[in-house]
């Protein structure tokens, strides 16, 4: 069953008054529990696509429907609330809040959701165990390695029990061992909790593990392969 429907999605940026087409008529659907890689060279529209999918940016034309909600028609505050309960983000540069410890970073999302302190602590512990760093709960991001930070970022993305996770080049700054560990963790969570994962990547290791690979070129989908 499709939880995401994207129709005729266009995004045009204006760079020094010259219009640049980042997306040029994308039509896609995503089902629950997918583990999908969006593959494209740099500048082909992967990040723009993820930003539109996550309601961080507005399309020039077209629609983004998630679970029956047209998020491109929501107000800024409504989109923020929608993201809080439906979407998890994993960024290339981890982007953890530097003044919070690993567990506080995870609990932060749940606190925004209004979850009780006890429940937050339990879920944060479970997530840190799931990503394999239960001993790093009270450590701040700067004292963690890149791989460990990205694991915390994944745990944070999952803290709100989202319907899907958008990951923008999550392995770009990681060594091969960390990448392998992280992908294993995400694959397990995908299978165990049926969370949809959509990666923007050009990392061959991610592509290899994906069950669906969508290739972008010049803002268009040129290939959509289900394995």
């Amino acid at each position: 069953m499709s939880i995401i429907r994207i129709k005729n999605l266009h995004k045009v940026y204006s760079q020094k008054q010259i219009p640049v087409k980042a997306l040029n008529g994308v039509d896609l659907t995503f089902d629950e529990g997918e583990f999908t890689a969006l593959v494209a060279p740099s500048g082909a529209g992967k990040t723009t696509f993820l930003n539109l999918l996550g309601g961080l940016d507005l399309p020039t034309e077209g629609s983004v429907e998630i679970g029956g909600v047209r998020i491109d028609q929501l107000s800024s505050a409504e989109k923020t609330k929608f993201r809080l309960t439906n979407i998890g983000f994993v960024f290339q540069a981890y982007n953890l809040i530097p003044v919070l410890t690993a567990s506080e970073n995870i609990e932060f999302i749940m606190e925004l959701q209004g979850i009780s302190k006890r429940e937050r602590a339990v879920r944060s512990r479970e997530l840190l165990e799931a990503v394999g760093i239960p001993d790093k709960a009270n450590v701040r991001p700067l004292q963690l390695s890149g791989g460990q930070q990205q694991r915390v970022a994944v745990a944070r993305a999952l803290a709100s029990k989202p319907k899907f996770v958008l990951a923008d080049e999550p392995t770009a700054n990681l060594d091969s061992k960390s990448t392998e560990n992280l992908l294993d963790i995400m694959l397990q969570l995908n299978k165990k909790e049926n969370i949809t994962f959509i990666f923007a990547t050009h990392d061959a290791r991610v592509v290899k593990m994906a069950r669906r690979v969508i290739t972008f070129e010049d803002g268009k989908v040129i290939n959509d392969e289900v394995r």
Partner: protein
């Protein structure tokens, strides 16, 4: 709760910058506290000298007396009037006075003087004049002598035991003249009074002015300004023509104007200081917002509403301001406390100038809570004003642009 924690920890991400900003508030608060304390201390001293050594907080006169301070505008002593006044809750006691002018001669020198006929015991209760005698002794019973200010004595070149001649106009134009032995010289905190005041027993003053049983004022003694404000409307309501009740504020409007004008000029100086503080905090907050643009983008992406982000930055601004205020107040309290108990004596021309203006040549400090509370309120308002900038920036921030850094 978490927003507080995040804000507090954010403050210490760049310790040096935070400490520099807090220091600017710290020094500003110390300067403003000292300045405010010095100002209020001087005003309090002026007011205290006036009400405690001369006017009292409230006076009762003939309705025409204050505009035309002639002995002809006096009134008769009245027990019923005293009882009516004393019936008002808050009035401790009442002092009768007969006050007028006369020429005072000693040998070859003559000076104009203010002669105050007083009830010795009651007057002493208000002004503690007996304790201000620096030479000779206080008057006793129906003493025929007078007490004169030490500066007036210097001018007339008279001392204790000498005789002075008083010459003036009495009640309804009669000539008032008499010889009086000097029993003592007094030194009041108000230099003006030392230069022109003569104390005399009330009955003797009434005899001198031919104003038997007449008074120019009843001085009503209350504990402080607060009680005065409560008592004044009651008295005004209870006492009707031909009498009039006046507070010291009404009797000496020039002093109030002088204080207010001085307060206004000091406010400009404090304003400049606070503007410097404000720009110090604003600079830091601007840097904080610009540096953390990407972080704000992430927070918005993961579901944090913009207004909550703005609140976090507001807390950061508030913490910086409050740290500065608290440390500044802690720093200024001992200094102000010390100078409150040990006023700074002025010397040389400044001291002379102050004395000429009728003020004690000391720099007094005030220990009133208001002096310190004002600094807290000012810095709090500054943080509110400064917070507007990050608030607007964050509310206008686009999530996707912020993520690009």
């Amino acid at each position: 709760m978490r927003l507080f924690v995040i804000a507090w920890r954010n403050l210490w991400r760049n310790k040096k910058r935070t400490l520099i900003t807090v220091s600017s508030v710290f020094f500003g608060v110390i300067l403003c506290s000292l300045m405010g304390s010095m100002q209020e201390g001087s005003y309090n001293s002026m007011i205290s000298n006036l009400v405690n050594f001369y006017s009292g907080y409230i006076q009762l006169h003939n309705e025409d007396y204050w505009e035309d301070k002639s002995i002809n505008n006096s009134f008769f002593e009245s027990d019923s009037l005293v009882n009516k006044v004393m019936a008002v809750d808050g009035i401790d006691y009442i002092i009768p006075r007969l006050e007028s002018f006369a020429l005072l001669s000693g040998g070859e020198h003559t000076k104009g003087a203010m002669v105050m006929g007083v009830h010795l015991e009651k007057e002493n209760a208000l002004t503690s004049i007996a304790g201000k005698i620096i030479e000779g002794a206080f008057l006793s019973g129906d003493d025929e002598g007078v007490l004169i200010g030490f500066r007036l004595a210097e001018k007339l070149q008279v001392g204790v035991g000498d005789t002075v001649v008083l010459f003036g106009q009495g009640y309804h134009g009669i000539t008032a003249a008499g010889k009086y032995p000097v029993r003592g010289l007094f030194k009041l905190p108000n230099p003006n009074l030392n230069r022109r005041l003569v104390y005399m027993e009330l009955k003797k003053a009434q005899e001198f002015y031919g104003a038997e049983r007449l008074l120019t004022s009843y001085v009503m003694v209350v504990k402080d300004n607060k009680i005065m404000k409560r008592v004044l409307p009651v008295l005004k309501n209870n006492i009707s023509k031909p009498y009039k009740i006046r507070s010291w504020v009404e009797m000496f409007p020039n002093m109030i104007q002088q204080i207010e004008s001085d307060r206004s000029s000091a406010l400009v100086m404090k304003g400049v200081l606070y503007i410097v503080i404000m720009f110090g905090i604003l600079g830091t907050v601007m840097m904080m917002v610009t540096e953390r643009r990407r972080e704000f983008g992430v927070m918005m992406a993961v579901g944090m509403l913009k207004y909550k982000l703005a609140i976090t930055v507001f807390y950061e601004t508030l913490f910086m301001g409050m740290l500065g205020v608290v440390s500044g107040l802690l720093g200024s309290l001992p200094v102000v406390g010390y100078f409150y108990h040990n006023p700074i004596p002025l010397t040389g021309k400044v001291a002379e100038w102050m004395a000429d203006l009728g003020f004690e040549p000391y720099m007094f400090f005030s220990w009133e809570a208001g002096v310190f509370i004002n600094q807290m309120v000012a810095v709090f308002l500054i943080t509110i004003i400064v917070s507007v900038f990050p608030f607007v920036r964050i509310m206008k921030m686009s999530g996707v642009n912020a993520l690009k850094g």
